[in-house]
């Protein structure tokens, strides 16, 4: 019986049972000198039968992280905080340039290509999921060369 319980535990995702979003192409673009805020982008898919609600994000190596949305309205670029990202069953939400993104504030150290930024997504019920994002050059990430299928 103990053996079975141990097996069951092994089968659980290490990042949490209730929430296991499929995360693809998570990346943080290398930032220019003087940039005190960075951005993280990724593709989030909800494979479960229940809606998922991400209510906050934190990131190792940063003082704060917020869910943010950029918009250009009448030629004015604005950013605003987003209270929650809700992902319906089967739905994919893109965090991408010019739209939803995770704003990473006050980095403790400069980024280098190949670094990993570890973020924690917190859901409405208080559970969490870890996400690892690769640090890569700005335009490389934008053009989707980070899928791992390239060189």
């Amino acid at each position: 019986m103990k053996y079975l319980a141990a097996l069951a535990l092994l089968a659980l995702p290490t990042t949490g049972f209730a929430h296991d979003l499929a995360v693809r192409d998570a990346y943080v673009p290398l930032a220019a000198p003087g940039a005190t805020v960075h951005a993280a982008y990724m593709m989030l898919t909800n494979p479960s039968a229940e809606p998922e609600q991400i209510v906050s994000v934190s990131a190792q190596g940063y003082a704060m992280a917020h869910i943010h949305k950029s918009e250009v309205v009448n030629d004015v670029a604005t950013m605003s905080m987003v209270e929650m990202i809700e992902i319906s069953p089967g739905q994919t939400v893109m965090l991408e340039q010019g739209g939803l993104h995770i704003m990473l504030m006050k980095p403790e150290a400069a980024l280098a290509e190949g670094d990993t930024v570890v973020m924690t997504l917190e859901f409405a019920d208080g559970t969490t999921q870890l996400v690892e994002a690769m640090v890569m050059p700005l335009m490389k990430g934008m053009h989707g060369d980070h899928s791992g299928h390239g060189s």
């Binding site: 220019a32 000198p33 003087g34 805020v37 670029a77 950013m79 605003s80 340039q97 993104h101």
Partner: protein
């Protein structure tokens, strides 16, 4: 201050992919005198607009999303343009920070990160406002949050200044490099035609 802008579409092979990469002004607009500086002691003033094409982008360094990608796209667009125009017609790119309190120490390093030839400047609020108004642009510093952090809203378009020092056009997102280069090359052709008429 509203001006009537004429939309022109970049030359496209497929109408389905039609995107407006820029707007051409009906009439050229003279630039007032202005002066900016940066942490290296360099200066950028209205006289620097003469005899070269200049792209002026407004932004701020604490901008994680829009500003870096605009500069990244401008770098690609200028590289594309350099393959279509004479070397002395390749536009200079000037990043002007509207957030001097936070950015004054870094603005050059920031701009040059995107291309070694890019220049970054900022300056007195009055000078910023002068250039913002002259280019029919906009910015607003938002209210600080509890940590003191504040957002900055700013025009997303990029001002195109001709070698006679007048504002001729605005580049618009998404700054597709190929289409933006096409827009700039066509603008230069019509500018030269105008000069010879």
């Amino acid at each position: 201050m509203t001006r009537v802008l004429t939309l022109i579409l970049a030359l496209l092979t497929s109408p389905a992919l039609a995107q407006v990469q820029g707007v051409l002004l009906d009439e050229p607009i003279d630039m007032p005198s202005f002066s900016f500086t940066n942490e290296t002691g360099a200066e950028f003033s209205d006289t620097d607009l003469n005899d070269a094409w200049t792209l002026i982008m407004f932004g701020f360094l604490s901008c994680p999303d829009v500003c870096p990608f605009t500069l990244g796209n401008l770098e690609a667009a200028v590289t594309e343009t350099s393959m279509r125009v004479r070397p002395d017609n390749v536009p200079k790119v000037v990043f002007v920070s509207v957030d001097p309190d936070r950015d004054a120490e870094w603005v050059t390093d920031y701009a040059k990160y995107f291309h070694p030839d890019f220049e970054g400047f900022t300056g007195e609020r009055e000078q910023i406002d002068t250039l913002i108004e002259a280019t029919d642009s906009f910015y607003r510093l938002m209210r600080p949050d509890s940590t003191g952090y504040y957002e900055v809203q700013h025009s997303s378009s990029v001002s195109v200044i001709a070698p006679d020092g007048t504002l001729r056009a605005k580049l618009q997102p998404p700054f597709d490099p190929g289409l933006t280069a096409e827009f700039l090359a066509r603008l230069q052709i019509s500018y030269r035609k105008e000069l010879t008429q």
